[in-house]
């Protein structure tokens, strides 16, 4: 068990370098307390310093954005002669300007403020929710309250213990007609989302009364009550929200937030960036970005222009977060250089008007695609080239995958992305390498066998890769005959290494995509591997070995491929150990993807076959970008620490991606090198330059803008627990390969312990018993526990090495939305689906059952439950399940009649069946790969894997959720 020996004494078990300096927890405490005291002193000192300056001057005219609903003022520093806001304003206010009545609200000048400051009805909400804590969260209010300048000596507040900040109390009654509610009631009845409410009621009465609602709303938003509400994890059992958690919104002025990048594409673990590295270290939360840069988007503005406007010094693409100094000059938001606006940019093609550079699509969209002119090409754009490398040894033929592959390719051959230049080629291999000459003019495909696998050569270099359009018939002939060609083969050896070398030779002049289908451990020639797994050690609680590659052959080959713009996608269909840890390198460093179908067999495992078919269809037809590079730029002061995903890092901020596909995700760890003192926002820009399958060079640019904050409570308020979990998972994978699995598990546990204890010591001032977490991090321990029980990191449960390594690969390169389900599956009760609250998509009604906690306690014998674990969906049927469900959905008369291996729901013409199928179909549509459905009864073999996903329950080798919480609490209070 990891948790039992995870005392944070061992420096090596932390992810961050800074944490490694943490001494055994005892000695640390005084210094942490000291920190928190300093912190308090600092925040209270900051209050008078930072707020007054910008407000009286800027607010009346251009800072209107700050008082819009949902917008929250950032703690501002006095600098800013040239912030984006004041400068943007002259060019036209954002479309949704505030109602004019709001205008007079902003200028809070000097003494009147003390009286006029409205009582933020919910400024004290984080406090109010938990009575006893009132005084401590008073602190957040204090430093979060960016809005009005606080009158009086700040120091005074600290000794003061009312639940409302002074200056708010006396004015609260006058304009809140309703008597002040009990704080807890307030919290309950007025969720955060209703914050903008005050706008809807027209302010009654003159002057001060007009002021109040907007300011109330403002201070409300500024304190982000919901995110920082203190939750005692040990007491609140039902933490899981009924529906999937949306990504938190950065605390930006609304007009910026509205155009900010979609969180599905670009997401940060901390939506508020700390000002200094020491502040970040104190929060003990990882700072990083999660990207899904090539995601299929339904709406993507594409710009064709001969000049792409970029910063002259840092080469940043112009984006919505730059500031226009005047008509002719713009200031880069990454390096702050002032650039000229080119003449061409003055004309706006959308509105066909001149002189409005800030209305150009480039400045209105955070995600945009450019069609690049020729200076973005090192060579003419390559054609789409697809090479398929197929294992045809005895073992491969046994699994029967060739039929499925050939059929899928035949079905989709016209849907392969490409243009008239598209080329395809085929190589098969067992102990020898077989090439196929598909030259136009041949009557049938010609097979050429090379048996000299030590020194591989191409028999006819120019006719092995052929134009798909010209030779389509030959290709189809080949695909039809391939499965029968090797039916009787007795060859058991596999010379994968040589086949890959041959393929590399074939593709290196053009670049392209290799799809490798492998069914066994390569055991001949170069790159031969030995079985390293000891099946008896699968369940051992000791350290798991052999997570790192056995040879660097595949890595070196992948780097060669990467240099020649060749990506290798690996399909592993095997029932035995295949050493994915070594083989996976070929895809990892060449930006390919790995698909793994354990125990694939055409007869014995129909679920896998369906999965393979569907995945293959998606794989063959999805978008693809060739010879791509992705550069991630960030505001000066921030720097990139580590990348996660499948690629080769070519320089500090540049990833080389021979191919890019829409299902690939990336993660980046960031560090703060210089203090971000005088900045209000920082920006990150990911620019992906690729060649489309039609031979166009394109650049897809995503820009994300985030506020900078200087207090710990703000950092915690902006924490995105899902993104943090995703990034920690990537870091843990790295750690388990470079150090050991137990080390990685300890580091994950410590990540939750450290951040919660930092929250307790630095943000909360009153120490009350229990395990306290801010509301935004309330799921953090649960997700960490889920990670510890995930296939990749679990110990004590029998896990095949390849399964484990594959889970690790997936955690690293899947976009966050998909990997989250693998970490924490979703459980729904499905036998009583109703149309209540259902979604309506394309005239299909999709019921939305609520999410349940992953514990057996939630299951009942009278019901049926659906568990969506990302790559697989389980439908569990209780023994006494409602007979209507059985007959209407499954089409069986009784529980006993449910067949053992059921992978399909029958298409019955009943309302229940339609609802269930619609719901499952909707779940499947949300992801690019195909999760197979397993219908399991209480006695099925699959039940074990279903129950393993019950994360909150205790297993023989792992703690239950409550025990884990107790452990975390114990470590914190040590």
């Amino acid at each position: 068990m990891a948790v039992q020996h995870s005392s944070p004494t061992n420096g090596a078990t932390h992810f961050h370098e800074h944490t490694s300096s943490r001494p055994p927890s005892k000695p640390c405490e005084p210094c942490c307390k000291l920190n928190s005291i300093l912190q308090l002193g600092a925040t209270s000192l900051l209050v008078p310093q930072c707020y007054p300056a910008p407000w009286p001057t800027d607010a009346p005219t251009s800072l209107h954005g700050y008082i819009q609903p949902g917008a929250a003022p950032q703690p501002m520093n006095p600098m800013v002669p040239n912030t984006y806001q004041p400068n943007r304003a002259p060019y036209g206010p954002p479309p949704t300007g505030p109602p004019p009545t709001m205008k007079p609200t902003s200028p809070p000048t000097g003494p009147p403020m003390a009286n006029a400051t409205p009582p933020p009805p919910k400024a004290d909400e984080p406090v109010a929710g938990n009575g006893p804590q009132a005084p401590n969260s008073y602190n957040h209010v204090d430093n979060k309250m960016a809005g009005p300048p606080q009158p009086g000596p700040p120091g005074r507040h600290l000794g003061h213990y009312p639940s409302l900040p002074p200056g708010y109390q006396n004015t609260s009654a006058p304009h809140n007609a309703t008597p002040p509610m009990h704080p807890a009631m307030q919290a309950a009845t007025q969720p955060y989302t209703q914050a903008p409410q005050p706008y809807q009621q027209p302010p009654v009465g003159p002057g001060p009364a007009q002021l109040s609602p907007s300011l109330a709303a403002m201070s409300l938003q500024s304190s982000t009550p919901e995110a920082l509400r203190v939750v005692n994890l040990l007491q609140e059992r039902n933490l899981l929200p009924p529906s999937p958690i949306p990504a938190p919104t950065p605390c930006l002025p609304q007009d910026l937030q509205k155009i900010n990048c979609n969180p599905e594409v670009f997401r940060s673990t901390l939506t508020s960036i700390p000002q200094t590295q020491s502040l970040l270290n104190k929060a003990k939360l990882p700072l990083g970005l999660l990207l899904h840069p090539f995601k299929d988007l339904s709406q993507l503005p594409v710009v064709t222009s001969s000049t792409i406007v970029r910063c002259r010094s840092c080469r940043t693409y112009i984006n919505p977060f730059v500031s226009f100094l005047d008509q002719r000059r713009w200031k880069c938001n990454l390096c702050y250089r002032v650039n000229d606006v080119p003449e061409e940019f003055m004309y706006n093609p959308v509105s066909r008007s001149y002189g409005e550079p800030h209305k150009r699509p480039e400045v209105q969209n955070a995600t945009i695609e450019f069609i690049a002119p020729s200076e973005y090409m090192l060579r003419p754009p390559q054609p789409a080239v697809y090479l398929f490398i197929l294992d045809v040894s005895h073992n491969a033929v046994e699994t029967g995958y060739l039929n499925v592959f050939c059929q899928s390719l035949l079905d989709n051959i016209n849907a392969l992305p490409g243009d008239s230049r598209t080329k395809v080629g085929f190589i098969t291999f067992d102990s020898t390498i077989h090439f196929y000459n598909l030259q136009e003019g041949l009557s049938q495909p010609q097979m050429l066998i090379v048996s000299d696998i030590e020194d591989i050569f191409l028999p006819t270099p120019d006719s092995l890769l052929v134009n798909l359009n010209e030779c389509k018939e030959l290709v189809q002939d080949l695909l039809k005959s391939l499965p029968t060609l090797f039916e009787k083969t007795m060859e058991t050896q596999s010379a994968l290494g040589s086949a890959l070398q041959a393929a590399f030779k074939l593709l290196s002049p053009t670049g392209g995509r290799m799809s490798v289908f492998q069914t066994q451990l390569p055991n001949l020639g170069v790159g031969a591997l030995q079985s390293r797994e000891d099946p008896n050690q699968r369940a051992s609680a000791k350290d798991i070995q052999y997570l790192s590659p056995a040879t660097d052959f595949y890595k070196k080959l992948a780097l060669d491929c990467s240099g020649q713009q060749v990506a290798v996608d690996l399909f592993l269909l095997s029932s035995q150990y295949c050493d994915l840890a070594s083989l996976g390198c070929i895809s990892r460093y060449s930006a390919g993807s790995v698909y793994y179908y354990p125990s694939y067999h055409h007869q014995h495992n129909p679920a896998q076959v369906e999965c393979f078919q569907k995945d293959l269809k998606r794989y063959l037809t999805r978008k693809i970008g060739f010879e791509a590079v992705m550069r991630i730029r960030c505001t000066k002061g921030l720097s990139i620490h580590t990348f996660h995903g499948n690629f080769f890092v070519r320089s500090t901020d540049l990833l080389s991606l021979p191919n890019v596909n829409p299902d690939a995700g990336f993660a980046v760890q960031m560090s703060i090198e210089e203090n971000l003192d005088d900045m209000q926002t920082v920006s990150f820009q990911a620019a992906l330059l690729y060649t489309s399958s039609k031979g166009e060079r394109r650049i897809r640019v995503h820009t994300l803008c985030l506020p900078v904050v200087n207090s710990l409570s703000d950092i915690f308020a902006g924490a995105d627990v899902q993104a943090i979990t995703g990034l920690l998972a990537c870091m843990a994978v790295d750690r388990s390969v470079t150090a050991s699995l137990s080390d990685a598990r300890d580091a994950m546990t410590n990540a939750s312990i450290d951040s919660l204890s930092s929250y307790r010591q630095s943000v909360l001032t009153i120490q009350q018993p229990g395990l306290l977490a801010p509301a935004c991090l309330r799921l953090f321990p649960l997700f960490i526990l889920a990670l510890l029980k995930q296939k990749a990191f679990r110990t004590g449960t029998s896990t095949r090495l390849d399964d484990r390594v594959f889970a690790m690969c997936q955690l690293k390169y899947q976009p966050l939305a998909y990997s989250l389900l693998m970490i924490h599956p979703a459980l729904y009760r499905i036998d009583d689906l109703t149309d209540e609250g259902a979604l309506n998509i394309n005239e299909r009604t999709i019921p939305q059952p609520r999410l349940l906690q992953l514990t057996v306690e939630k299951l009942s014998r009278e019901a049926a439950f659906l568990m969506d674990a990302g790559t697989v969906i389980y439908l569990w049927i209780g023994r006494n399940c409602n007979p209507t469900f059985l007959s209407q959905v499954l089409g069986v008369p009784s529980y006993a009649a449910v067949p053992d291996n059921l992978y399909l729901l029958p298409e019955l013409d009943t309302a229940e069946s339609q609802r269930t199928r619609a719901f499952i179909g909707w779940l499947r549509d949300q992801r690019p790969f195909f999760p197979s459905l397993h219908i399991i009864r209480d006695e099925s073999q699959q039940k074990a894997s279903f129950l393993q996903n019950m994360i909150e329950d205790r297993t023989e080798s792992a703690l239950s959720y409550y025990e884990f919480l107790l452990h975390v609490q114990q470590q914190i209070s040590k």
Binding site: P549, D552, F553, L559, S639, H641, T642, V649, R650, S651
Partner: protein, 173 residues
């Protein structure tokens, strides 16, 4: 005053340390080049690791084409890690033979470090230390740079120590 074996050892060590100082400077510059995007990590690792077969023509070409000033001299292309370790090991053995125990003790920690460093290198089929896929990781890059500076300091100090040791041996005997 007599020319003893110990004196010879010191003289030899003096010369070799001068070479090692050069190696250390070269090492620092190489990592700085990586950090400032001046070079492709694959090329850089090929030059840092001893290359058993001649480096692929492409990377030589690139280096030549860009006209990198830097220390890509004739020795550079052969890789410097292993020679450095061997040289250091060699004069440790010499000091052992000459029974210069104090000097040997001063060098032992570095010798042990070299052994540990080489044992914990990434999986590689050829001799060498640096893996182009992990070298760009900020932690590893920072570590390598720090290693370079520490070694430079160590070799500089030991250079003067050997000078002193040589004179001392020459004078005292």
């Amino acid at each position: 005053m007599a020319f003893t074996f110990a004196a010879f050892c010191y003289m030899l060590a003096l010369l070799l340390t001068a070479a090692l100082i050069f190696f250390a400077i070269w090492h620092i510059i190489a990592f700085d080049e990586l950090k400032t995007d001046y070079k492709n990590p694959i090329d850089q690792c090929n030059t840092l690791n001893p290359v058993s077969d001649p480096p692929p023509p492409s990377c030589v070409l690139v280096r030549g084409a860009r006209g990198v000033p830097g220390p890509s001299g004739s020795e550079g292309a052969r890789g410097l890690v292993l020679p450095e370790y061997l040289i250091h090991f060699f004069f440790c053995v010499m000091f052992f033979c000459a029974a210069e125990w104090l000097t040997l003790c001063l060098n032992l920690p570095l010798l042990a470090y070299h052994v540990w460093r080489y044992m914990s290198r990434p999986v590689m089929s050829c001799p060498g230390l640096y893996d182009p896929t992990t070298i760009m990781n900020a932690d590893i890059l920072a570590f390598c740079q720090k290693e370079g500076w520490c070694k430079l300091a160590f070799y500089l100090l030991s250079f003067f120590y050997y000078l002193y040791g040589m004179i001392y041996v020459l004078v005292s005997s």
